[in-house]
């Protein structure tokens, strides 16, 4: 299984996570942090980057050690590795900005149980070379960040009238508080998933329409 992938270009490995197998929108993984910290773009971005860092680092290490880790204890090893990097990121973030750390709260530490990371470690990094593992992790991490920003942008724009903290609609704008509240998180993510499902359905329909014309 490793051999077949080797000759392939690395680009599809990278883009896969961004769009086609986007961890949030398509594979519906890592929903908890997605919903919890996406009430503003800056929080989304920080959370996305923190996850990206953990993802890349742990994928790299798992891939490096893939031949020495015994099968029976691999999950335990992965979790230790991930927890280590999460702790590192946690302290790093505290050193960079306490405000952001406070806004993200426990969800930084909860990256440990984000299924994306363990999932990539188990499904990809443990079977692929370091370069490919890092590429894949970066793709997935960026895809996750992208999804978070999608959510954060809508929620901040409607919920606060601003984007990245800059006022967009002027002082007369009446913010939709619900967008910052928990229900808003559910609604916006749900709406994004509906949009994706609609796209998928439409492209499936177009594809179906094209097929017979080819045959004819």
């Amino acid at each position: 299984m490793t051999a077949t992938g080797m000759s392939e270009s690395i680009w599809p490995v990278y883009t896969r996570g961004l769009w086609r197998e986007n961890p949030v929108f398509v594979m519906q993984l890592g929903m908890c942090p997605t919903l919890a910290v996406s009430n503003s773009v800056i929080n989304s971005l920080s959370m996305g980057l923190a996850t990206l860092a953990v993802l890349v680092a742990s994928s790299a290490l798992v891939s490096l050690m893939r031949n020495v880790i015994p099968k029976q204890v691999r999950i335990a090893t992965y979790i230790v590795i991930i927890a280590t990097f999460v702790t590192v990121v946690d302290y790093a973030l505290q050193a960079i900005s306490l405000d952001i750390h406070k806004a993200l709260g426990a969800f930084i530490q909860l990256i440990v149980v984000n299924c994306i990371i363990l999932g990539r470690a188990e499904a990809f990094a443990s079977k692929n070379s370091v370069v490919r593992a890092i590429t894949d992790a970066a793709g997935m991490g960026l895809g996750f960040t992208f999804a978070l920003i999608c959510l954060g942008a809508v929620r901040e724009l409607l919920g606060n009238g601003s984007l990245l903290g800059f006022d967009v609609f002027g002082p007369q704008f009446e913010p939709w508080a619900i967008m910052i509240l928990p229900p808003g998180g559910f609604f916006v993510l749900g709406a994004w998933l509906l949009v994706f499902a609609w796209f998928k359905e439409r492209s499936a329909r177009t594809a179906a329409r094209k097929e017979p014309s080819h045959a004819g």
């Binding site: 007369q172 704008f173 009446e174 508080a177 619900i178 609604f187």
Partner: protein, 350 residues
């Protein structure tokens, strides 16, 4: 003998059918809501009328657009969107900006109904989904009240009514001051009771000359309309009975324990949205259980949660949340209260 050569129509029994159908049910509900709307307009003036019209149009338009987008025939004829629009308006404060009302209408139909597959498939009362959305989205505007019977209500609109879409509504303080209503503090009887421990005359509550949402003020009128529906056999009398009964008993228990702090059961029954919710909202057929026992449990849950939120919670009124919770519990209640069938000896455990 020509008839004997004619085509025989094959149909399955039964060959008789009751005259009641979905459209006639819905139409009667509309008839019973209209007086409540008219009274609301009488009490709160043109602004209330504008809001009722806006939410209704918004609901109808959304329903039409949804049908068009799904490529289905129009379902406006079943009147359910009309009911949703009217009911939504009845739960809103009269001075709410029209654009917020329109947002509420869109949310009610799109999120509360169309998403689940349209009429008959909505899990929650659509009007309450819209109302709860508005409550969470615009907490200030939706708790800005105007007094009932303000003298200028038919000569001017409440200033907040015509706020530009997405913009902050204008202050209503000057308008209220111009009304010259003594001691009006912009609070409903329930919030006066909860936050300031000021009671309101039960007679006023019963007749509906107090501040509040457009349609919730007159307990008497709502009762009359509800009795009309029950008499027509178009409403399940057990649900309002269970809701009001439980609310009465629970508030009586609180009142007996500590009459100094807790309001009287009569106040409970006639204030806020309890009457409107019990009669028009909780009885929404789609979101309520169908089993005989389930209906009572459902009503009791709503009554209990309402009183608990009112007396112990942070909000002055909790009817809306109680009914949404009741709706959420309905499938489970239905499953757990399957009736004992004829001739079945003991309840089988599934």
């Amino acid at each position: 003998m020509t008839a004997h050569g004619s085509i025989l129509e094959l149909q399955v029994s039964p060959h008789l059918h009751t005259k009641v159908n979905v459209s006639s049910i819905m139409l009667h509900v509309v008839y019973s809501i209209v007086p409540v709307c008219l009274f609301g307009v009488y009490q709160f003036g043109w602004s209330a009328l504008a809001l009722i019209v806006t939410t209704t149009l918004s609901c109808l338009l959304t329903e039409r657009v949804v049908c068009w987008a799904a490529g289905k025939p129009s379902t406006l004829g079943d009147c359910s969107a009309l009911i949703t629009g009217l009911l939504l308006a009845l739960t809103l404060p009269p001075g709410l900006p029209l654009w917020m009302g329109a947002v509420g209408g869109v949310v009610s139909i799109a999120l509360g109904k169309a998403l689940f597959g349209g009429i008959g498939f909505n899990l929650f009362n659509p009007a309450l989904v819209g109302r709860a959305f508005l409550q969470a989205a615009f907490p200030v505007a939706i708790t800005t009240w105007t007094p009932a019977g303000a003298p200028q209500r038919f000569t001017s609109f409440v200033p907040s009514t015509f706020a530009w879409p997405f913009s902050r509504p204008a202050s209503v303080d000057a308008w209220i001051a111009a009304a010259g209503v003594d001691g009006f503090t912009g609070a409903t009887p329930l919030s006066l009771q909860k936050f300031s421990h000021i009671g309101t005359d039960i007679g006023d509550l019963f007749l509906g000359t107090t501040a509040g949402s457009i349609g919730e003020t007159s307990a008497l009128l709502i009762l009359v309309c509800g009795i009309f529906l029950i008499w027509q056999g178009l409403m399940d009398w057990r649900i309002p009975t269970a809701v009001l009964g439980t609310a009465f008993i629970t508030s009586l228990a609180f009142y007996v324990l500590n009459p100094g702090i807790y309001p009287s059961p009569a106040f409970m029954m006639f204030s806020g949205g309890l009457m409107l919710g019990a009669i028009f909202m909780a009885t929404d057929m789609v979101g309520s259980p169908v089993t005989p026992l389930g209906v009572w449990i459902y009503g009791a849950v709503i009554g209990l949660v309402t009183v608990v939120i009112r007396l112990k919670g942070g909000l002055p009124d909790g009817v809306m949340y109680a009914i949404l919770l009741g709706n959420a519990l309905t499938p489970l209640i239905d499953q757990w209260t399957q009736p004992r069938i004829f001739g079945q000896r003991k309840k089988q455990h599934v």
